[in-house]
Symmetry: C2
């Protein structure tokens, strides 16, 4: 799809012009023809969006139903999705929605050797950024103890939909020594038992799940998450449950039940206790925080190379979540980095807990 | 408010004319002036609706904040709300929404001595009907082992908003030996510790909670439920969680956390395990049912005196929930009663589980 065609999306209210430093870009706020939401036109080239992948909730039938050929199985990492692309002399990081992410753009040179984008500027790296030092989501994989890490899981070409085939991607990952998601190999749709064993192992290791990519020209994809992931999502977000759609929680409980039913439950009582804990411990923390500080919030702590990018991140967050909901605590040089600490206010949870802890009425 | 004024509500799309056997009635589908949704005009008299009561989620502040005077504390029974009124020579039972309930109307003479409505036909009895033999909701109090029981908790007069004062109601309950909710006495707003102890006892006994009614002319009311109730609601409905708003579950988890925080937790691990069980055991049952029968449903079993009322109930349910979602299993005379057995299909849950157990994709 050509850049000029995407400009038409503006007239259909499916794209917006935006600026970021010296760059002007067109960002798709909605799907337009075959270009997904989050596709971007910048410096005359199209960087396709990364569309969401459908999930299966059952291996036994899902593999047979979804795949017509063997498929590659890769780790699904619990972080946020970015695309890294060469734009002029810069490397910019685009979020799922097509915004330029000041944090990832700032830190990209630390997280991966970007030589590949200098030598092959038509390539786009699709990656997950995860760890306790990221500014967006509350959870992170337990095996990343500090800061953030980047894991490439796909490559695209600018101005082109679709991904590089697995062998080509794998060769480039090795050639450029890029950090990548773990590839667990190539499975056939009838290898249900092997996949079940793999998912049991991933649960054990505290990993989110897998993305499966059919080894064929249609490159059909689907994902499946572990019970660990369901529990961890609830545990990590329940303290602001009113700020998320209720379906977020109910959906995860349902996924968990289906996962357990298929995997067989080794320790039934413990899984039940863990789920109860996931809900109640976080809520108990939120209640305590509300009583103590009259609000519910998370403090994020992120490292930046350039303090201007920290300011850009805060400006972006204030614009998208509301000015009063993001508050800087400090931005100071520590060693090689500038450390930004900021609070994200959970407005709905703060309001509700303040109201009911003060003795207010609720109608439902 | 006069009957004639309520007829105006039809023009504002807030009321409908309906028929039930020989009776024509006007039913408020929405609040109109001070008449709540579910108010009814029948045989020239107005039977006011029973408005929903706001809930508090914290005793320590809620009592002080809500009440300016001592208040009566009564048991909140886990059933469905009806109003019983004399209409011509009949006694009819009206649901919360203002529909005539064929089941309660049929069984009312078994459940209470209705002499009061013959002798004082301007009275309306507000009651909860609860037990495993009722056709509407899935849960019931554990202390009602079979069929249904009725518990009067308020009395109104036709053509008048508001309830009879507590002493007058209590005198009539005793005079006519009517089954009523348990009254735990009159408390002052500063008796937080006493109320806390009462709620601990109610949780222990498997009771839903309390309704508190200020002993004053403004008759302000509020309710509070036990942790038992939160768990039991989840346990009783999670097998059809897609057929209910997700907020139903999330709200109950939040109530539970607030209740536990205030009551102090005697056995932390066990409460967590119980909550996990409440979610996972019911889902596991639904998954098994879906695998076995390709659908998720509940079978209800209710006794009727007159089989025509059983047929009326099914017709009403088919109209309100969709024809395909209610299926009669049998209607047969057993001893003094006609026993109706019917299945209520949980369409959304059946559809979702069928899809995912068959290996289908979910986007969320």
């Amino acid at each position: 799809m050509s850049a000029s065609l995407l400009h038409e999306a503006v007239a259909h209210n499916k794209a917006r012009y935006e600026e970021y430093g010296p760059w002007k870009l067109l960002r798709l706020t909605d799907k337009y023809h075959e270009a997904p939401r989050g596709s971007v036109v910048i410096d005359g080239k199209v960087i396709y969006g990364y569309p969401s992948i459908g999930r299966i909730l059952r291996l036994a039938t899902g593999l047979q139903h979804q795949f017509r050929a063997p498929f590659w199985v890769e780790e699904k990492v619990d972080g946020y999705n970015v695309r890294l692309a060469r734009v002029g002399e810069d490397v910019l990081a685009f979020s799922r929605g097509g915004f330029i992410c000041p944090f990832t753009t700032d830190r990209a040179p630390d997280l991966a050797d970007l030589r590949i984008l200098r030598e092959q500027p038509h390539l786009v790296l699709c990656a997950e950024v995860a760890g306790p030092g990221q500014p967006y989501i509350s959870g992170h994989p337990p095996y990343i103890k500090e800061d953030v890490q980047l894991f490439v899981f796909d490559m695209m070409r600018t101005d082109q939909a679709g991904y590089l085939p697995q062998p080509e991607k794998q060769a480039l990952l090795e050639e450029y020594k890029l950090p990548a998601v773990c590839c667990y190999g190539r499975y056939r749709p009838d290898q249900v038992e092997e996949m079940r064993a793999l998912l049991a192992q991933l649960t054990e290791e505290g990993r989110e799940g897998v993305v499966m990519k059919e080894d064929s020209t249609r490159d059909h994809r689907t994902k499946l998450v572990t019970s660990y992931s369901c529990m961890d999502d609830i545990r990590g977000t329940v303290d602001h449950l009113r700020d998320l759609p209720a379906e977020y929680f109910v959906g995860r409980v349902l996924r968990l039940a289906l996962f357990l039913e298929e995997q067989g439950e080794e320790d039934v009582i413990d899984v039940r206790r863990q789920l109860g804990s996931a809900f109640l411990d976080g809520l108990s923390r939120a209640i305590e925080q509300s009583k103590r500080e009259q609000r519910v919030y998370h403090t994020h702590r992120c490292r930046f190379r350039d303090p201007e990018n920290a300011r850009r991140l805060l400006r972006h967050m204030k614009r998208s979540t509301g000015h009063a909901h993001v508050a800087q605590r400090r931005l100071e040089k520590e060693g090689e980095y500038y450390v930004l600490e900021f609070d994200k206010l959970h407005a709905a949870m703060s309001g509700l807990l303040g109201h009911v802890l003060g003795g207010g009425l609720v109608f439902d």
